[in-house]
């Protein structure tokens, strides 16, 4: 199918590419279906483009790209809702915010990751019960540090 988007023009997506968030996002229950679009090149960023609203796309990143020690502990009821066991193929993204024109002030929301069950292609924004994480975590420095560590290795 063809999907109209504000940022990326008309893109081709397969039905199988669609990830459904049955309950939507926290505070935004109207957006339920998304496709993942890589930002491009070597970039670690992706966009979660809404299938239903051309102008709505979350800017996201794999949190382990800059925080190798990041932990997502799902409660039993969250795991149940995502139909997840330890063996389930999963992916985790966190939303990233760049204030207009100020990429150096980029932050990530480590408190509420988007957890995807890749077998069922269902996702859910989970609110972690973990005091280490906050909604506006600055990430640029950690990204540079992590990239440097990888370079050295």
């Amino acid at each position: 199918m063809e999907l109209e988007t504000t940022r990326f023009g008309t893109i081709k997506v397969e039905e199988d590419d669609i990830i459904t968030f049955p309950e939507g996002l926290v505070g935004l229950s109207r957006y339920k279906r998304f496709v993942l679009i890589p930002h491009g090149g070597d970039s670690p960023f992706c966009w979660l483009q809404s299938v239903d609203e051309p102008s709505f796309a979350l800017f996201v990143i794999d949190p382990w790209f800059f925080r190798p020690d990041y932990e997502v502990v799902l409660s039993d009821s969250e795991a149940e809702r995502l139909q997840m066991t330890e063996d389930t193929l999963k992916a985790v993204f966190v939303t990233v915010t760049i204030p207009p024109g100020q990429p150096e002030l980029m932050t990530a929301n480590l408190l509420a990751p988007l957890v995807l069950n890749l077998s069922t292609r269902r996702g859910r924004q989970v609110i972690l019960d973990d005091e280490r994480y906050q909604t506006r975590h600055p990430i640029l420095e950690e990204m540079v540090r992590h990239a440097s560590a990888q370079e050295v290795a």
Binding site: R7, L25, V26, G27, L28, H39, G41, D42, S43, P44, F45, F56, A57, L58, F59, V60, S77, E80, R81, T95, V96, T97, I98, P100, G101, Q102, P103, M106, N109, L111, A112, Q125, I127, T135, R136, L140, M143, V144, A147, S148, E151, V152
Partner: protein, 80 residues
């Protein structure tokens, strides 16, 4: 808004299966216990609001503001 007065250990029912119990009142702080089915999520309002705001802000990020791949150690060194 419905306003009810409750004492410690008294509760209210919301529908048939959600119960909110007043556990303790100490000065300005009230401790509440919430019994709800597993499919009902319960969060502090300010956390819910903060996450909603971040979702909206993330969706306002402009592709042209996205930095290229982050600078690597090598490139930083060669520049110095």
């Amino acid at each position: 808004m419905l306003v009810l007065t409750r004492k410690v250990n008294q509760s209210i029912m919301i529908g048939d299966d959600i119960e909110v119990v007043v556990l303790e009142v100490r000065g300005e702080q009230v401790r509440l216990g919430i019994k709800a089915p597993r499919n009902v999520t319960v969060h502090r309002r300010e956390i819910y609001d903060a996450i909603q705001k971040e979702n909206l802000m993330s969706a306002q990020t402009q592709p042209e503001d996205v930095p290229e791949a982050p600078p690597k150690a090598g490139s930083v060194k060669s520049a110095s």
